[in-house]
Amino acid sequence: MTRRASIVVLCEDKKSHMFLYRLLRERNIGSNRITVITDYPAEKGCGSAYVLNAYAAQVRKCRNRHASSALLVHIDADQLTVDRRAQELAERLSADGQAKRRADEPIAHAIPKHCIEAWIGYLMDMPADEEKPKEGWPRFTSEQWKHAAENLATMLRSAEPWPADAPDSLTRARPEFQRVL
């Protein structure tokens, strides 16, 4: 693993915050090397707009620190496709006058389709259904979120191809996580 001074996490809400924090800890990243941007909105339903608004500024800060800082971004695709959500992030960079994200930059986009609960469900051995909206998933316990993070960390450690029934957006996020892990 490339040793970096810190990983900054930009995410939608508390649940994804703790999920990504635990994932990083499972990959033996020290608690003092993880910084989660915690000023996500108190009101539900504003998470993706918040990430979009904050994204360009966080990329700029990450780039100013060069290789000593990585950025892990979580944003749900919601009703959009994963490609469209990724395009929205790219547009935010462009609007901010910044260059496109390069393939070798430690900036990772974790974009579940439709919501991160689809990933948690799959990681907890439930059928992968990426079209199901957030309301359609059970309210996972913090223990389930934790086990899901452990399972994803195990999958990311493996060099084998991932199961064919894994959610497509999760499989597509694999090289994204590898940018920062």
């Binding site: 924090y21 608690s31 915690t38 000023d39 996500y40 108190a42 009101e43 504003c46 918040y50 608004n53």
Partner: protein
Amino acid sequence: MLKRLYVDNFRCLVDFDYQPQAVQLLIGQNGSGKSSVFDVLDSLAHFARRPSAGCALFPSRTLCKWDGRATQTFQLDVELGDFVAHYALELEHLVEPGLAQVTTERLADDEGTLFQVVGGKLALGSEQRAEFLVGQSQSAIWHDKASACPRIRLFREWLQATTVLRLNPYAEADKAVSADEFLQRDGSNFAGWYRRLQDAHRQVLEPLASDLAEVIDGFAGLNSFKPEARYIIQSLVRCGGENAKGLPFGWSELSEGQRTLIVIYAVMHAAKAGKPFLLCLDEPDNFVALREMQPLVHMIEEFVDEGHIQVLIASHHPEFINMWGHEQSALLYRQDAGHTELKTFPPRDTGMLSPAEIIARGWEND
């Protein structure tokens, strides 16, 4: 786990009914009653310990100044494995000689009374005729007859272990005269408390040192020894890299922030070694550097999630407010400097604002 706290006529807490979560942040302006909640829990914990100052833990100045009644009531509902304990304590404050006395003390489970004291007479279970005279200045929870009941003992152990910390690193001595079971609220007896932890729960020392090494540069461990009649605590710090030998540093040679972190981390790890207990942290962010704040809040969240401990926190710090302000906070509020009320937080229609921003703008009471 504490499921409910009811307080009536204690400072600004009048008919105050609070149902805490496994981890919860108490937020509110200065003087809103956060510390009073912790003071009640601290006094009840000391009331159940031995030796106890008894009713002197509830001096007359703790009566609500504008209420006028002389009776104070405290109730706890505590989930203890397969049952819920319901504890009630009622005190009457006497004009002469200015002390309080127990008028009623009762512990019950969902099936009925476990013990009850009324007018200085103790009755056990449903055997109302089996009465024993007890004093009215102390808890009867230690009475030999009460101690025979496993559920009473379980509740007593939980209440005794309730720990309220308002740390004052300047009060913490590097020496202690005894190995202490309970940590004082200001952390002043940490040397003696740590000695007991070291003797009784050695298995937590290594993970404790490992966690602390992530937030304190070079930290290699704590050591407590007894050269003469006193326990002395030292910190070992590797100065000059990971492979350097740990050098002993006296407790007072550490910074206030380092000492604060060590005490909180040690208490959290102690929870892993024994039964779950309630920890109340009153402004734990004092003295702690901003960079050390997230590891601290993450550790609290993880330990609570694993079921080792219940933590109530009073803090004005944005890191704490944003961590628990979304769904795990209780807003304490006093209308026109009257008694404390609980309000839902965060309020509606705050758009993109984070919980800390809502507080900073003073919009929490909207």
